[in-house]
């Protein structure tokens, strides 16, 4: 099967039928090209989704208060719900096994001032645990810790761009920035690959801020991460439990959707995972259907070729070619065309992806690429496809009766 002469025969045939070979191969090369591009696109979408979610820990839950829409427990509808420090303590103490990290969030804005520079930034007053929940990456310095929190220290962790804006060429670390007229020591600088404004943000201990704003107990949100060993069902069960308990505590009707929003990342993540799984299944299916068209095309042209070469096959048989040798010849030819053109399609797609792929970095679409397993699978599929495409024509060729082939003088 793999002797040099058989290959010579094949190369000879292909070389002498260049147009035919090209047309035959094109359909399969094109099909593989489309298949790879489709898979890469799905991969790009998945990358995009993952990047977006990477911003936060995927096992996080956010509790956001809202305005009630139902009258409940003697209260009228339309009541604004306000979370307080008690709620934070209550949750932390009620679910010690379920919760890994928990932090309150207090949103405000700060007019920041350093030497001659001034800027307005959003400020989040949070607990130290917030670093893990938000996956904040510290470039230099440190995040504030429990001691800062307990001492109500006037320290701040600023975004990279805040540092660039205010401190210019100076190192912000250890310097004091004026926030709304009060001096805060910069103890850390963080980076964030999210959108542009993500690095124009300042974090400060919540205890410090609550004291500054009149000894308030109020918090805007409570964010937490649950036990990372939990699977989806357990995670959903926990967030359900949490929601029930908090609604009872805040006197919100269990049916009221707008009074309190307990948002579980796991839910969204699993929704999107299954969405992209469906998407990749569809694109594989579409790719296969196109590939089948390509295979049928090859089979079609091979059948025609056999018809065209009936006489030649008859001659070969008269000269002593066994049916198996004829089958071999046809199968190898079709497999070779399929594999070669498939590889060209594959390589072309690969090159294209490696050139344009890294330039794609949209929120929902980033770095489309194919991995080695896809390439290996595609190769195996191609070889099988080639054999399939050649099978019917090969059998047809083997059944050529030399007497019939030679009689048409």
């Amino acid at each position: 099967m793999f002797d040099r002469d058989t290959w010579q025969e094949i190369f000879h045939t292909l070389k002498n039928n260049k147009l035919r070979t090209f047309l035959t191969g094109f359909s399969v090369g094109w099909a593989i090209f489309i298949l790879v591009m489709l898979l890469a696109s799905v991969n790009g979408m998945q990358n995009g989704f993952t990047n977006q979610f990477n911003d936060d820990a995927t096992n996080s839950i956010f509790i956001r208060p809202g305005t009630t829409s139902k009258a409940y427990a003697g209260f009228e509808a339309g009541r604004r719900i306000q979370l307080k420090n008690d709620d934070y303590d209550y949750i932390r103490k009620s679910f010690p096994k379920d919760i890994e990290h928990i932090s309150s969030r207090y949103f405000t804005s700060a007019s920041a001032h350093y030497k001659g520079e001034t800027g307005s930034y959003s400020l989040q007053a949070v607990h130290p645990d917030h670093q893990i929940i938000e996956k904040t990456v510290i470039l230099s310095g440190r995040y504030f810790n429990e001691a800062d929190q307990a001492n109500k220290a006037k320290v701040a962790v600023i975004g990279r761009k805040v540092g660039d804006d205010l401190f210019k060429n100076e190192d912000p670390l250890g310097n004091f920035v004026e926030l709304n007229g009060l001096s805060f020591r910069v103890i850390g600088i963080f980076t964030d690959e999210g959108d542009d404004n993500a690095e124009r943000r300042i974090y400060a201990p919540i205890s410090t801020y609550q004291q500054i704003y009149g000894n308030t107990e109020k918090v805007n949100q409570i964010a937490m991460t649950y036990n990372s060993e939990y699977d989806l069902t357990k995670a959903l069960e926990f967030s359900g439990r949490l929601e029930d308990l908090m609604k009872r505590r805040l006197k919100i009707s269990p049916e009221d959707q707008s009074g309190l929003n307990v948002w579980n990342y796991a839910q969204a993540f699993s929704d999107i995972s299954s969405f992209s799984a469906v998407l990749s299944t569809i694109s594989i299916a579409v790719g296969f259907l196109i590939l089948i068209a390509g295979i049928v095309g090859i089979g079609n042209i091979m059948v025609f070729t056999i018809k065209e070469r009936t006489k030649e096959i008859g001659v070969r048989k008269a000269l002593g070619a066994k049916p198996s040798q004829i089958i071999n010849l046809v199968l190898l030819e079709s497999t070779f065309i399929t594999a070669l053109s498939g590889f060209i399609g594959l390589t072309f797609a690969w090159i294209l992806l490696s050139i344009i792929g890294p330039n794609f970095d949209l929120p929902a679409f980033s770095n489309p690429s194919v991995d080695l397993s896809t390439v290996v699978t595609a190769t195996i599929i191609l070889i099988i496809a080639g054999v399939l495409a050649g099978l019917i024509p090969a059998v047809k060729a083997a059944n050529v009766k030399p007497i019939v082939a030679l009689s048409d003088k």
Binding site: T13, N16, K317, L319, P323, K409
Partner: protein, 233 residues
């Protein structure tokens, strides 16, 4: 060399059965040069096809070099054809994208002879038919007579027991026909058994024996005085 007994063959033409060969008995010894003659429809081509194992008889016996030829499947027929027979066709049947040398080497390829030996052997036979200089040319670059000589070289390359020629001069003018017959005579002189199907009297008389077929039976089988194309010394 060839022995056939009571060979029958009929073709089904719709509801009618056409009895083409009606009991042929025929023997050819080694080294014979036999012309099979007959008008079209006499069954001469059918007989040659059966002898060439391209077709199967309905009944009768066929021995080739003492080997009974029966129960042929495609693979077995291919083996026998390769081992015993060389074919020369009216329309040459060269493979048009292969050079003269490659065409001659093809039966050797099916004999699983190594590349180098194949090339050497093919070149030797091309030289014998006087076309050594044309080895690398494609059939389209050769004249009719040259094509037929390549075809004869190809048939001989496998060193067959019997050379079967079906109207070898049918597509050639008389000058080239004689050249081809000259070649066939010379190959016969070397002791090869050759069967030539023809309907041309002059070609038939260049053989050593003429078998006349009419309506599926042999009506005449006679030895003749061979007309040589070129007088040998």
């Amino acid at each position: 060399m060839i022995e056939i007994k009571e060979l029958h063959k009929s073709y089904q033409m719709g509801s009618n059965s056409l009895h083409v060969l009606k009991g042929i008995n025929f023997t050819a010894k080694e080294g014979e040069l036999v012309a099979i003659m007959g008008s079209s429809g006499s069954g001469k081509s059918t007989l040659l096809n059966i002898l060439g194992m391209l077709d199967v008889a309905d009944s009768g016996e066929y021995y080739l070099d003492g080997v009974p030829i029966k129960d042929l499947n495609e693979t077995k027929a291919a083996k026998y054809r390769n081992q015993f027979l060389g074919f020369v066709f009216q329309s040459f049947n060269l493979i048009n994208y292969k050079s003269a040398l490659e065409n001659v080497a093809l039966p050797l390829y099916y004999q699983k002879i190594g590349r180098k030996e194949r090339q050497e052997k093919a070149m030797k036979y091309l030289e014998q038919v006087g076309l050594k200089e044309w080895a690398t040319h494609l059939p389209s670059e050769l004249s009719g007579g040259q094509k037929q000589r390549v075809a004869i070289a190809r048939a001989m390359a496998a060193e067959p027991k019997v050379l079967l020629a079906d109207e070898p001069t049918g597509a050639l003018d008389s000058t080239t026909s004689y050249e081809v017959m000259d070649l066939i005579q010379k190959i016969n002189d070397q002791g090869n058994t050759i069967l030539v199907v023809t309907h041309e009297e002059d070609i038939a008389h260049m053989c050593k024996r003429i078998v006349h077929l009419k309506d599926g039976v042999i009506v005449e089988d006679k030895k003749i005085k061979q007309v040589r194309v070129t007088q040998n010394v």
